[in-house]
Amino acid sequence: MDERTEQLTVGNQAPVIEPGHTFATVTDKISSIVLTRPTSNGWLIGFGACFLLTMILLYAIGYLFLRGVGIWGINIPVGWGFAIVNFVWWIGIGHAGTLISAILLLLRQSWRNSINRFAEAMTLFAVACAGMFPVLHLGRPWLAYWLFPYPNTMNYWPQFRSPLVWDVFAVSTYATTSALFWYVGLIPDLATLRDRSEKLWAKIIYGILALGWRGSSRHWSRYETSYLLLAGLATPLVLSVHTVVSFDFAIGIVPGWHTTIFPPYFVAGAIYSGFAMVLMLAIPIRKFYGLEDFITERHLENSAKVMLATGLIVAYGYGIEAFMGWYSGNRYDSFLLWNRLHGPYSLVYYALLSCNIFIPQLLWIRKLRTSPLGLFAVSAVILTGMWLERFIIVVVSLQRDFLNSSWGMYYPTRWDWATFIGTIGFFLACMFLFLRVLPGISIFEMRTLLPQAEVKE
């Protein structure tokens, strides 16, 4: 057995790609989803529902621009509220895409080839959702460009010692890099669509987007070098982004924020929630588009294992937070722990512990790791749990800090909820459109997985 076939069928695990496929069948199967398959009613209904939610988002944003952030539940002391909770949650989800496409590429995990494309698209849309929130939270969002250093008549420059400015650079670099990485990966597949499509307008549009790609070996050589270097650059970048997001908290002096464990624990949490989102998207996609040959049980199981591992790191983070609350002997830190366990938001904290630590332990059961329905449910629980974690970090830390006289409570309003649910709709609507017009699985990388792609000497 040559090396490639061996990689595809390790031990008794399911293969990465079902046997019997050729270059032509892989190409036809994936490109036909975009080119020949008629728009189904299910797609229309799903897209329609998500589009309605997007309209709710636009309505909520429109009203926000009209009235200001007072329509949200934020107050003093809880100035950060849902906007920052959602920002951190979305950007965390975005991390799985780059992890899958860059880090697993460098580690030569070829099973990633069938899920990297839509995971990258997911990253892009999640980062778009994330990027909205800090801007909406600015109060005067039309002045968001003040965050960037540009020469201006006010003789003013951003404060580069502030983690909030670091965040602007980290998130905008991340958004640019993921968009470019995604597009570069798409170029050869766009050329395939250009050559396969029957309709003239589709040929023209895909042709423009494919930039005249013709698969020359010189081009491939530069392409592969560039792709590897992009992966090498994206790997430290993805780790830095959530690290910088955690600095937004860790550089502050609020109890529960001012800890050194935040960067690794935030990164692990990001990957945790990101893989949960990948599974929540992959499971219905493989079912409805009949892609079980390409997204096999092996992918589901590997993703579940990644969730289990990162979930344990997150659990360790919670453990250390609680331990330091006691061990530091700092009265504010130990009060924070007490407030989490017995304060007004204690139910949220218990829900968080169940969603993020206890229920995911079910993933130790192999049967669950290979059951699409079970994994879908656990992923939904984890995504909820990770959202609750950010709620605990943002709200519970702020609501009762050093002085009793400045304590307060935070209750989200309907506009908070409308904005949050609206971004979920926007995210899913983008995913629906993506699956309709672009290949959801990387066609050329799937070809390289086939045994016949090996050059025999």
């Binding site: 050729t22 270059f23 032509a24 190409t27 250093p149 003789n155 420059w157 951003p158 580069f160 010692r161 983690p163 400015v165 670091w166 650079f169 980290a170 670099t173 640019t176 890099t177 990485f181 597009y183 570069v184 050869p188 050329a191 395939t192 250009r194 050559d195 396969r196 042709g207 423009i208 930039l211 005249g212 790609w213 013709r214 698969g215 020359s216 070996s217 010189r218 491939w220 050589s221 530069r222 392409y223 592969e224 070098t225 560039s226 270097l229 992009l230 650059l233 994206a234 430290p236 970048l237 830095s240 600095f247 050329f444 990388e445 070809r447 390289t448 016949q452 792609a453 090996e454 050059v455």
Partner: protein, 178 residues
């Protein structure tokens, strides 16, 4: 400059193995202005046509260095020269606080260099190219493998090259009009 009505001779193959072997033999036969086309990257292929090094890593290195230097200098200049803010007597040139943005700028410029440098070196975007004149070439993005000898090659002759390519187990051979 002499206009050549024929751009080259193109041979079609069924498998990546056939293409790589054919490309090697063509190179060994002394042809230098050749290229090969495949629907997915084949590591051995660029070697086989004598393309050993590409300029992408250097471009990315330059991009990264430019990003790193400009990111740091921007923050240094703003914080010490253009807009110094005295916060409790702390130093204006507080370099540890500048590392994050320097790092992000390094990555950003290196990524831009990797993508646009690769496209520029490849001469893309190029919507029209003579190889697209061959109808069978549409399969180069699906499941067929092609080798071309350009007519600008010094060893090129329409009869001799065709006979040579026929000896390589090509599935079919076609002339590429320029």
């Amino acid at each position: 400059m002499k206009r050549t009505p024929i751009y080259g001779l193109m041979a079609e193959f069924d498998t990546p193995t056939d293409l790589v072997h054919a490309a090697r033999r063509t190179y060994e036969a002394g042809y230098r202005k050749i290229d090969a086309y495949s629907p997915f990257p084949i590591e051995e292929l660029a070697e086989a046509i004598g393309f050993h090094r590409n300029g992408v890593p250097l471009v990315v290195l330059i991009g990264g260095l430019v990003g790193c230097a400009s990111g740091y200098l921007l923050q240094w200049w703003i914080s010490t020269v253009s807009y110094p803010i005295n916060v409790g007597g702390r130093p204006y040139h507080s370099w540890p606080a500048f590392i994050v943005v320097t790092f992000e700028m390094t990555i950003l410029c290196a990524v831009l260099a990797a993508v646009f440098g690769m496209l520029a070196l490849n001469g893309l975007p190029m919507p029209y190219h003579p190889v697209f004149n061959v109808p069978r070439f549409a399969f180069a993005t699906k499941d067929r493998f092609f080798l071309i000898v350009f007519s600008t090659d010094s060893k090129y002759s329409s009869v001799g090259t065709r006979t040579f390519l026929e000896g390589l187990r090509a599935r079919s051979i076609s002339e590429v009009p320029s």
